[in-house]
Symmetry: C2
Subunit: 159 residues, 2 copies
DNA sequence: ATTGAAATATGTTCGTA
DNA sequence: TACGAACATATTTCAAT
C-alpha cells in the first residue's frame, strides 16, 4: 500500500488568522507584538497561530520586495513560446532557468507550450534576450512578445 | 521653472548592499543582527545601508507569501482582453480592480489591450469569473484564456 | 486556544572614529 | 561609512488555565 501524501487542501482559518495574515502580507517585518496589540490578543497566541499556519504550508515564507526600476530595469514583457515537440519542454525550462531575466515560466493551455515573464533594462536588452538567449534554446520554434506598458494591478490572493 | 522630479534611476549598490538584499529577498524576517554576523559588519551599518536603499526607493516593502493552493485556489490563468476602444481602458481597469480574483493587470503591446492574471479555485470558478465578471465589463469584446498548468519559475530580479 | 511571565535576542539611535 | 554601547522592544518558550 502506498503512503498517502498529505494533500494540502482545505485549511480552516478564522477571522483572527486572516487579520494576522493581512498585516503580514502587507509588511512582513511588522512586529508580532504590535499586531497582537492591534487585534487584542497576546503575542504568544499569534506565535502559536503562525506555527499552525506554517505547518499547514499556508505560509510560504516572506520576501523583501525591491523596485527593479531603480536598478534600471524598466521593460517587462510576456513571451509566448512555441516548442517543436512537447517532449522538449523540461529541457527548455531548464535552459530558461539559467536566464536571469526570466522571472516566471508557466506551462499553459492554448497556443503556446510555455508562457514566460521577463524583466529587462530596455527594449534593446529585451531584443538581445529574445534573439541571443531564448531563440537559441533547442526546440524553440517561434515566440510572441507582449511588452507590459504599465502594470496597474499587482497583488496576492485576498483573504 | 518646474520642479525636478527625481528619476529613480541608477542607484549605486555595492557588494555589501547586494548581500544584505539577497538575505532579505529570501526571508524578510531574517534578523538584521544575524545578517550582520554572517557578512561581518555591525548591525548599525546594515541599518544605515537599509535606510539609504529605502530612501532611494529601491526597497518597496516586504510581504508574507502565502500558498493559495492550501486555501483551495489551484487554477491560475492569464487572460488577454480585447477592448472596443482604447478610451475605455482606465474604466475597465477600475472594474478589474474590484474583482479579487484578478492579481495582475498590464497594458500590453500586441494583440490585446490588456493582459491579466487571475487565480481561481477551479475551472468552474474560472468560467464564472470570465463569463459573469470579466465579460460583463463595458468595452470588453473578446478574451483569450491561457491556463497555467504548472508554474516552473517564480522569482524576483537577480542582483 | 489563550495568557502572563521570564529569559534571550533583536531593533534602533547616537556619539565617535 | 562604520563602530560599539545603551536602551527600548520583540521573540520565544512554558506552565497554567
Amino acid at each position: 500500500m502506498q503512503k498517502m501524501k498529505s494533500n494540502n487542501n482545505s485549511v480552516k482559518i478564522d477571522g483572527i488568522d486572516k487579520k494576522i495574515l493581512r498585516y503580514l502580507m502587507e509588511d512582513a517585518r511588522r512586529p508580532i507584538l504590535e499586531i497582537a496589540r492591534n487585534i487584542g490578543i497576546s503575542g504568544a497566541a499569534i506565535h502559536q497561530r503562525l506555527r499552525k499556519l506554517e505547518n499547514a504550508k499556508l505560509l510560504a515564507g516572506s520576501k523583501f520586495i525591491i523596485n527593479p526600476k531603480v536598478l534600471g530595469y524598466t521593460t517587462m514583457a510576456y513571451i509566448g513560446i512555441f516548442l517543436d515537440k512537447a517532449m522538449a519542454n523540461p529541457r527548455a525550462v531548464k535552459e530558461l532557468e539559467r536566464i536571469p531575466e526570466v522571472l516566471e515560466c508557466h506551462y499553459t493551455t492554448g497556443n503556446w507550450s510555455i508562457l514566460i515573464k521577463v524583466l529587462c533594462r530596455d527594449n534593446e536588452h529585451l531584443m538581445m534576450v529574445l534573439n541571443k538567449k531564448i531563440q537559441q534554446i533547442e526546440g524553440v520554434s517561434r515566440t510572441e512578445t507582449f511588452i507590459s506598458l504599465d502594470q496597474q494591478i499587482d497583488r496576492q490572493i485576498s483573504i
